[in-house]
């Protein structure tokens, strides 16, 4: 795999430098802790929303910093949780009187790092709560994680919590929003190829030219099954079925529907999947009130996609519609 890399050891700091240089009005970097934060945060009476996880999932996590979204985030190496120290410093840098909400995707490393960091911050008198996101329906009881993984549904949690925090809600209220989104969001992914982490230099798993991994994790974790690749419509049906039946989403529900690319699939292919997913949702009597197609939580250059659905109520719908801005610009 050919990549634009200098020294793999500097890959993360170099891309973070680029993100900040490309968004000079909005963001600042704290390179020592691989942290990016909003220049104008923290603000004393506003809850700060922070996150931090492995790199390689961009625009998650440091590129999800901006108004109405995260106030700050720190990155670990590619696919590895950030060091405890970076998590702790991120909480400290965003500490406000209103408190800090840490949104943690459900992976062992992330959970342990943020657990330790939150304990350290609390010991210093910082008001902090953490919420664990786990939207991946592929995992029932994984050996590699502490239950269901947190994947693209993370973006809906960030978006809703970001809006709630901007609206001046308290730490407990913003936490309740995170809980509501997480309880109502489900995701399932599929991979057509592996990805190659820069430091590893070789693909993370092997997959045949005619095969797909259904239920893949965003680090290439094994999914529900390895199968022969089928048509886009059939693949969408598999993903939709897994997601729809899990909550379950029922006729009359208003939903947000997302097709998320895993980094190596062209937008046109994502829209092919979206067209079918939208049709399937309507066929089940669901109203697609908000739609999202693009890259939200990727896995380097993995060809593949995930389907996420969030059941809405009026509060969540309002929060998804609130203005927000992140480093991935829309013209």
């Amino acid at each position: 795999m050919k990549k634009f890399v200098n020294d793999p050891a500097n890959f993360v700091p170099e891309f973070m430098k680029g993100v900040v240089l490309a968004n000079p009005d909005l963001l600042e970097a704290v390179p020592e802790f691989q942290m990016i934060k909003r220049k104008d945060r923290p603000v004393a009476d506003k809850v700060s929303i922070v996150q931090g996880s492995g790199s390689g999932h961009e625009p998650a996590h440091v590129m999800a910093v901006g108004p109405g979204m995260l106030d700050g985030a720190c990155q670990g190496p590619v696919f590895a949780a950030p060091p405890v120290d970076a998590c702790y410093e991120t909480i400290k840098a965003l500490a406000s009187d209103a408190g800090v909400l840490v949104l943690v995707n459900n992976y062992q490393g992330d959970r342990m790092a943020w657990d330790m960091a939150c304990e350290m911050a609390e010991a210093e008198g910082i008001k902090v709560k953490q919420f664990i996101i786990n939207d991946d329906v592929a995992v029932k009881d994984s050996l590699y994680t502490v239950g269901r993984r947190g994947v693209a549904g993370n973006f809906f949690v960030i978006k809703a919590c970001g809006a709630a925090a901007e609206a001046g809600k308290s730490l407990d209220e913003v936490y309740a929003v995170a809980e509501k989104v997480n309880n109502n969001v489900r995701t399932m992914g599929v991979a057509l190829t592996s990805c190659t982490p820069p430091a590893k230099g070789t693909p993370i798993f092997e997959i045949g030219e005619d095969e797909m991994e259904v239920g893949v994790g965003i680090h290439g974790e094994p999914g529900r099954q390895r199968a022969k690749i089928t048509s886009a419509d059939q693949i969408t049906e598999t993903l939709f079925e897994a997601v729809q039946t899990d909550l379950p989403f029922q006729s009359g529900d208003r939903v947000a529907l997302m097709i998320n690319g895993l980094g190596g699939t062209p937008p046109a292919e994502l829209y092919v999947l979206y067209a079918k997913a939208h049709e399937l949702a309507e066929g089940k009597g669901l109203t697609v009130a908000r739609n999202y197609v693009g890259e939200y939580c990727t896995s380097l250059e993995m060809a593949g996609a995930s389907l996420t659905m969030l059941k809405l109520d009026s509060e969540l719908e309002e929060m998804l519609a609130a203005p927000a801005e992140i480093a991935t610009r829309v013209f």
Partner: protein, 223 residues
């Protein structure tokens, strides 16, 4: 009573760093088989810093281990940072103020590390983590805590960890996820278990204790 000097403990940590750095890519490959492929890189990144800073760290055994724990928190990412950081921190707490330790004291340090790691990550024996090597090693140390022959204890511990690689190799299949995971995780050893076994083997080699590696992964890591 056999005494273990601070110099020996420092040498053991330095050797541990060498093991982690030398096996960076191999441990990543093992992790890539069933995990997310970052283990070797996380460990090597931290131990490069630990190796470089070790000679400058002041203080007795407990103080040194505490500083190493903090370096893990700062420089080791992934699951390994909190796990190794917690292990060193708990060992530091029971060796505070000591410039040498007895075998029962060293056993207590390892026991404290094991308890801390279990509390931090929630894993237990049989979950196919490095605890599947550390717990039996700790048991063996308790069993031999009265021994005067430190070399024999080290060799026995190395053998227990070596055995753990084979004993846990097929554990995934036993837990009913084989149908979902396929052959990628069946018959793959846990990289943390291989790392512990490799470290103990490297200690044997450098301290002049006889131990012939048995598990193929250990053979490869020590070759």
């Amino acid at each position: 009573m056999a005494e273990i000097s601070q110099a020996k403990i420092e040498k053991a940590i330095d050797l541990t760093a060498d093991t982690a750095i030398r096996n960076e890519h191999y441990f990543c490959d093992l992790d890539g088989l069933a995990g997310d492929g970052d283990f070797g890189n996380s460990l090597a990144t931290g131990f490069k810093v630990i190796k470089a800073e070790l000679p400058q760290i002041d203080g007795e055994i407990g103080a040194k281990l505490l500083k190493i724990s903090m370096l893990c928190s700062k420089h080791v990412g992934g699951s390994s940072g909190p796990i190794w950081g917690t292990g060193f921190m708990k060992a530091a707490m029971v060796s505070k103020g000591k410039t040498e330790v007895t075998l029962p004291e060293l056993t207590e340090m390892v026991g404290a590390a094991v308890d801390g790691i279990m509390a931090r990550g929630g894993a237990k024996l049989g979950d196919k983590t490095l605890l599947d090597a550390l717990i039996p090693v700790h048991e063996k140390m308790k069993e031999m805590a009265g021994s005067e022959d430190l070399g024999a204890v080290l060799a026995a511990c190395a053998q227990v960890a070596d055995n753990a690689i084979d004993e846990t190799r097929t554990l995934v299949a036993h837990r009913g996820r084989a149908s979902q995971v396929g052959d990628r995780s069946a018959n793959t050893p846990d990289p943390g278990i291989v790392a512990i076994a490799t470290i103990l083997h490297d200690w044997c080699r450098e301290f002049g204790v006889e131990h012939a590696p048995k598990a193929p992964e250990l053979n490869r890591a020590t070759a």
